[in-house]
């Protein structure tokens, strides 16, 4: 009887955690489908035509691009520069203030090889969200940013609990069934129950990994905030009380880029954050780099370059929780193993949608059905007092 009680307890957890999160999980699975191919769809919807240059054309000078940007917007601040590793583009970002949600934040696209301005984009807040933007904002935060992210993170936790409880329930359920049995001829409920169990157990690890890494990704804002008020603050304590560096007195950004490349030869510069920007240092260029091997290209190392003298100040060691966050990204997005892996991601996602829908269906038709199931289990326990093996 003890086992039956424990099954009922697990069943309670499975039912309620799933029910609460199902609607949101369905939304996440559906918006996730196009997001797997987000880069491809984006490139297809908004194609950029780059000049045809040899592949090994060196990068143009960043100082030149910044100068063009500053000439166009002399009263604005450069906030950060993004150096794309996928396409030959450099994005110089500007804003009138350091306010991280300034509605006039905008970006200028340069050809990274010629240094020519390709596109002076309107402020982000005035751009239509677009299809992919809508999908991403809905998927990551229900259009309400941090509160939405934390809420979806909580839904993700419930999802993870429901997967674990589902796996626990799989054992007693399959006691007398062969793997993958689908009793299609008996009743519709049985067929869907068997399908729910087969699809769920066959994809359980993928569901768990994508669910747990999704939760991790939803925590990225608080985790970076935590890093900012602990490690970063400690690192910058010796500058305490000094005035932040004025943007007119900055050392060359190209020199900071070159210094970083020289210090970390195996690393690739991804972005350069100007002093004053949130999640940065008021006295340094914060330069994000990543490695060249499959694993280290997912792990980012920040470098601090003194914004006045241009000297390297520190290669920052990332705390474990941010390393975990970085590894959570590829494992959630499925974008790290070529196009076939993305297709596999979509297929698993479709299976997940069926698991969710069949779960809701099984709840809708529940009452009589589960009463029968538990009656049967009770009967089985009474009839089998001793351990027995199943002839197969």
């Amino acid at each position: 009887m003890a086992q039956l009680k424990s099954i009922k307890k697990w069943f309670w957890w499975h039912r309620w955690t799933s029910l609460i999160c199902t609607l949101f999980l369905l939304m996440l699975c559906i918006t996730g489908l196009p997001l797997v191919f987000g880069d491809e769809i984006d490139g297809w919807l908004n194609p950029t035509h780059y000049a045809d240059l040899p592949k090994d054309t060196p990068m143009a000078n960043l100082d030149g691009m910044v100068k063009v940007a500053q000439t166009r917007y002399p009263k604005q601040l450069v906030t950060f520069i993004f150096v794309d590793d996928d396409e030959p583009q450099v994005l110089v970002n500007m804003a009138p203030t350091w306010n991280p949600v300034d509605p006039l934040r905008h970006s200028m696209q340069f050809d990274s090889r010629t240094g020519k301005l390709l596109n002076d984009e309107p402020p982000f807040s005035q751009q239509p969200r677009g299809f992919m933007g809508t999908m991403l904002d809905l998927h990551s935060g229900l259009f309400i940013d941090l509160p939405g992210e934390l809420f979806l993170g909580l839904m993700g936790v419930l999802f993870v609990i429901s997967i674990i409880s589902g796996v626990v329930l799989y054992g007693p359920f399959m006691k007398k069934l062969d793997f993958g049995t689908i009793r299609g001829d008996k009743s519709r409920r049985l067929k869907w129950l068997d399908l729910h169990n087969l699809l769920g157990i066959a994809t359980a690890v993928w569901l768990l990994v994508v669910g747990a890494t999704g939760v991790m990704n939803e925590l990225s804002t608080p985790l970076f905030g935590l890093w900012q008020v602990t490690d970063v603050k400690a690192m910058l304590s010796k500058y305490h009380g000094k005035p932040p560096v004025d943007q007119t007195k900055l050392s060359s950004i190209q020199a900071a880029f070159d210094t970083t490349r020289k210090t970390l030869p195996g690393m690739q510069v991804m972005s350069l954050v100007y002093p004053g920007e949130a999640f940065g240092s008021p006295y340094h260029y914060l330069i994000w780099t990543k490695g060249n091997t499959p694993l280290t290209s997912q792990l980012f190392s920040p470098v601090l370059v003194d914004a006045k003298t241009g000297k390297l100040a520190a290669v920052v060691k990332m705390p474990v929780y941010l390393r975990a966050l970085e590894l959570s990204r590829p494992l959630h997005f499925g974008n790290y193993g070529g196009t076939p892996l993305k297709i596999i991601w979509v297929l698993f996602d479709l299976v997940a949608i069926i698991v969710l829908i069949s779960g809701v269906y099984l709840w809708v038709v529940r009452r009589k059905f589960y009463k029968n199931y538990f009656d049967r289990l009770t009967e089985a326990e009474l009839n089998e007092p001793s351990p027995q093996t199943i002839a197969s």
């Binding site: 799989y170 054992g171 399959m174 006691k175 007398k176 069934l177 062969d178 793997f179 993958g180 049995t181 689908i182 009793r183 299609g184 008996k186 009743s187 049985l190 399908l195 087969l198 699809l199 157990i201 066959a202 994809t203 359980a204 690890v205 993928w206 990994v209 499959p294 694993l295 997912q298 590894l327 590829p330 494992l331 790290y336 193993g337 070529g338 076939p340 892996l341 596999i344 297929l347 698993f348 299976v351 029968n372 049967r376 351990p387 027995q388 093996t389 199943i390 002839a391 197969s392």
Partner: protein, 66 residues
């Protein structure tokens, strides 16, 4: 009991191990490891298709009656 446990969990554990292998192989390697990862992760999907479209034609006697 032990035998039954083995029978229930053999295939789920195998499929789980293949998925886990695939997830990590593509993360840690390139080239041949990509191919191995793709192949490993397609197995659970293939097994699902097999079971859904070719349900047990010879249902064994130990399937409970409902």
């Amino acid at each position: 009991m032990k035998q039954n446990f083995k029978k229930i969990w053999r295939i789920p554990v195998l499929l789980s191990a293949l998925i886990l292998f695939g997830l990590l192989a593509a993360l840690l390697g390139t080239g041949i490891w990509y191919w191995l990862a793709w192949a490993a992760m397609l197995v659970p999907l293939f097994v699902i298709c097999l079971k859904v479209w070719k349900p047990n034609s010879h249902v064994k006697e130990n399937v409970i009656k409902n």
